[in-house]
């Protein structure tokens, strides 16, 4: 990559895009914007200036294409448009819009590029540009990887500004007043004589005006919304019980269904006996689907009951039947043959390890279920002309391809009505449930079929977070950390997940190592090698993906070395940190928590730092070792996203991320026995409940050079901070999640 500098940026961009894409695309193709999908189906009296703004004589509609699974992005996207459009919350409607390549995700490339997030050198930036070009050429619309804010931040403000300036031009043409004399606020253009023209009144005139495409974005000092507390647009409905999720959707003539497929994921159905089930109340139809059966009924509960009454003969799992074999597979993967990538090799690790007394440890991170509160569900109606799908999903184009693959339509004939999602954590990236719903609907043409998973089916057919194993060796000298040699073996989550979408991404899997090598510490001798284990149970992205495992291994081992060196866990991390923005995050969390202050004899504190999704995040956890077990008293989180859009939602997401990270580290895992997940409902994997929830203090810094998303980054440091705190309080070092295998919690 060193030679990149000798080429022009554009030559690199197009050349590499051609190679990686396998097709020769010209500069023109990369630079050409996609057509505005709103322009294709404009009703009478409607006008659109870009894919995000639609106005007619009655209302302004803002298109917020990122899926809202609770992170508040519908509101966030609307706020970014509204900031420049000069319209207030309450003066417009929103829509998730139809799937379109025009909504390609401009920020997905950042996480996919194999560079440290803190590396903003020319090579790293050029690689990100290449990948972004590919994402654009593929028209990849999607929500994930904490990208909604960085994807939207500039382009949605531009969309708002272009619409505003075009409306002003229309108003100028209509009134003869020059554009320079016009102002905008509250969804209207104001004339110098005090007259006001609402945007809706200008829709007709604006449809004839030349759109304004060149706009300057306002300086932050002029912002009225960004950075200030907002009331999320969905807060009222979500406090009234009136927010409709996919599971609440209703279509005229709809029937209810559920499915049961082989709990040994991907295993065959050898046979079934549905005689008793057929005769049960409310049952309309029992139909086969891939590796299983669907029950169609007049009520979801009737469908659940009948599905339970079917006798199944399931085939074996296409992966090892027992959990021990999964761990053994990882254990056997620490070899050159499985080396996926050597992510970091600073100093001379071999020499350093030879100098001192080496400390070694092995760590484990288990499979974990997504288990969002809203179980998977979808309504599908198939007709000859088209397919309609009502569900909440993060990848509209994946959904269209998956459903079209079942029904024989073209993907463009699949009309997707995206819905609010009752939690995802990565679950709604997957398409298997859509294929199943389509398989039922295609057998009942014309009838809308609402398919709902039982909670048990949701657990059995989750694609959990991947398991991983870490082996670390290190040395200390003179009270300092001297060397770290970390190796991680895991099956490739990227390969497993993309494979289900029919893709095989080239190169190493960054998620095996994410959260470990990329922490911007200057340990003098630091090597990190990732090993790709053979595929095991099918796995998927789970909120923060690789970083909760690899981050736990790295930070826990760093903590072990710091204790061995006799250094202070906070001071040594700060000393080792070579990245200013990250160092300030550590210093902030130290200050917030009054690190070093007096603690009771049975109390302990741990600190952890993990950078993920470009967000340096540090957490301090304080625990008390009580006679009833470990109690988590207080948590402090500091992180840096460059710019906070809404401080209220930001704090909520950071607190929630910490709860998510702590709760799963405490007591959640999926284990396989006889090829099936042993955990069947929340009593087997409940994470944190209210009485266990500590006070959580949050500080968001804004020193980073790029704006980042906060959905995932608070999760990874929670587990190591808790383990480090338990060590500080009890002297017991826990190297395996869930910690409930080793300690009790109050």
């Amino acid at each position: 990559m060193g030679r990149v500098r000798t080429f022009s940026r554009r030559a690199f961009l197009v050349g590499s895009a051609s190679i990686a894409g396998g097709v020769a695309f010209g500069v023109f193709k990369v630079n050409t914007p996609y057509p505005n999908p709103l322009a294709e189906n404009l009703a009478d009296g409607e006008v659109t200036f870009n894919p995000w703004v639609l106005i007619d004589g009655n209302k302004v509609t803002l298109i917020t294409p990122h899926a809202d699974k609770g992170q508040g992005v519908m509101s966030m996207q609307a706020a970014l448009i509204a900031e420049e459009l000069d319209i207030e919350f309450g003066q417009f409607e929103t829509s998730f819009g139809d799937p379109s390549p025009a909504y390609w995700n401009t920020a997905m490339a950042d996480e996919a590029a194999p560079f440290m997030a803190t590396d903003q050198g020319r090579t790293a930036e050029a690689a990100r540009t290449v990948i972004a070009s590919l994402v654009k050429l593929l028209g990849m619309q999607g929500t994930g990887g904490s990208t909604a804010v960085p994807d939207s931040y500039v382009k949605l403000r531009q969309a708002g500004a272009m619409a505003r300036e075009t409306l002003k031009r229309a108003a100028s043409e209509m009134t003869g007043v020059s554009v320079g004399q016009l102002t905008t606020s509250g969804g209207a253009v104001h004339l110098p004589d005090g007259r006001t023209l609402n945007y809706t009144e200008l829709a007709q005139a604006a449809s004839g005006a030349d759109p304004v495409l060149r706009v300057d974005l306002r300086a932050p000092s002029e912002w009225r919304m960004i950075g200030k507390p907002m009331q999320r647009l969905d807060i009222l409905a979500k406090s009234m019980g009136t927010q409709a999720y996919g599971i609440d959707a209703r279509v005229e003539g709809m029937v209810h269904a559920t499915v049961k497929t082989n709990p040994r994921q991907g295993g065959m159905l050898n046979g079934y006996d549905a005689e008793a089930a057929k005769a049960m109340p409310g049952v309309l139809k029992i139909v086969p689907i891939s590796n299983g059966v669907a029950v169609v009924a007049s009520n979801t509960w009737y469908a659940f009951q009948a599905a339970e009454a079917i006798g199944f003969d399931w085939g074996p799992a296409p992966y090892p039947a027992g959990q021990d074999q999964h761990w053994e597979t990882l254990s056997a993967s620490f070899s050159d043959k499985h080396l996926d990538s050597n992510w970091r090799d600073d100093g001379d690790v071999e020499a350093a390890l030879g100098r001192g007394e080496a400390i070694s440890a092995e760590y484990r991170s288990p499979y974990v279920a997504h288990a969002p509160m809203e179980p998977l569900n979808a309504i599908v109606r198939v007709t000859d002309a088209m397919v309609e799908v009502w569900t909440g999903h993060q990848m509209p184009t994946v959904l269209q391809r998956a459903v079209a693959g079942v029904t024989g339509h073209k993907p463009s004939q699949v009309r997707f009505h995206n819905a609010f999602i009752g939690g995802s954590f990565g679950h709604r990236l997957e398409a298997e449930y859509l294929v199943q719903a389509a398989q039922v609907a295609v057998q009942m043409k014309g009838v809308p079929v609402k398919m709902t998973y039982s909670r048990e089916e949701d657990f059995a057919h989750d694609f959990p977070r991947h398991i991983s194993m870490g082996r670390a060796t290190g040395t200390v000298a003179g009270g300092r950390v001297e060397a770290i040699d970390l190796q991680i073996a895991a099956p490739s989550v990227v390969q497993s997940q993309m494979g289900r979408a029919g893709l095989s991404p080239p190169g190493p899997d960054p998620q095996i190592a994410a959260g470990s090598w990329n922490n911007p510490y200057a340990v003098p001798n630091f090597r990190m090698r990732a090993y790709r284990a053979p595929p095991l149970a099918p796995v998927s992205s789970w909120r923060s993906v690789g970083a909760p495992g690899a981050g736990f291994f790295f930070d826990s081992f760093l903590d072990e070395l710091i204790h061995a060196a006799g250094a202070d866990p906070m001071a040594e991390r700060i000393r080792l940190m070579r990245h200013d923005v990250s160092r300030k995050v550590l210093e902030a969390v130290a200050e917030m928590s009054s690190w070093g202050g007096e603690l009771a004899p049975n109390q302990g504190r741990g600190v952890a730092f993990v950078e993920s999704f470009g967000v340096p995040t540090a957490e301090v956890v304080e625990v008390t070792d009580t006679e009833h077990g470990i109690r988590i008293d207080r948590v402090w989180v500091a992180c840096d996203v460059g710019q906070i859009v809404d401080p209220v939602n930001f704090e909520n997401l950071v607190q929630g991320g910490a709860v998510f990270g702590l709760g799963h580290a405490m007591n959640c895992e999926i284990t396989y026995s006889d090829g099936m997940a042993e955990q069947v409902n929340y009593f087997d994997a409940e994470a944190m409940r209210m009485p266990q929830c500590p006070e959580i203090f949050v500080k968001g810094l804004e020193n980073g050079p790029k704006i980042r998303g906060i959905g995932e980054p608070p999760v990874p440091p929670a587990a190591p901070a808790l383990a480090n705190a338990i060590f500080a309080a009890t002297g017991q070092r826990i190297r395996e999640m869930p910690f409930s295998r080793h300690v009790g919690f109050v």
Binding site: R232, A237, M240, Y302, F304, F660, P691
Partner: protein, 152 residues
């Protein structure tokens, strides 16, 4: 079979074993109460029956005695229930899927005990799971609602 939900009388023709939750959701299109677990583990389906907090997934409709109030019957956008008002003020919700149940549980708690201690709040809310982790805000919102009830 007849039941009363949010003041409306309904005639039903379903199996008496059917849990109230599925009568509400699929028969009556009252979707505020949510299906989360079906086994009394998450609290998302909580409603009030004659003022008592009840897990509607555990209540066979044939055994129902009393009037059902769901979150839809608790307040209106113009006249929010004091608990809903606190939920809006504290901006509790993330995905919001569990919040119907959280609000119904909190309303039942405050009805019985208008000034609960932290421990009493934790205890009362312990059956309501929130996967997004909004617990710190739920705790604050219950206290906010409690304070405004005592002011009123």
């Amino acid at each position: 079979m007849k039941i009363t939900v949010n003041g409306n009388r309904h005639e039903l023709d379903v199996s008496p074993d059917m849990p109230l939750l599925w009568v509400l959701r699929d028969e009556l299109n009252v979707t505020g109460p949510k299906y989360g677990c079906g086994v009394a583990q998450c609290g998302a389906c909580m409603v009030h029956v004659d003022g008592e907090a009840v897990l509607s997934c555990q209540m066979p409709v044939g055994d129902l005695e009393g009037e059902v109030i769901t979150i839809e019957g608790l307040g209106t956008p113009e006249a929010l229930h004091v608990v809903q008002q606190a939920w809006v003020e504290q901006q509790v919700a993330q995905c919001g899927y569990c919040q119907s149940g959280q609000i119904m549980q909190a309303a039942a708690l405050l009805q019985e005990n208008p000034d609960p201690s932290d421990a009493e709040i934790d205890e009362a809310m312990s059956g309501n799971l929130c996967r997004c982790g909004t617990y710190p805000r739920i705790r604050t919102a219950v206290k906010t609602a409690s304070a405004s009830m005592r002011r009123a």
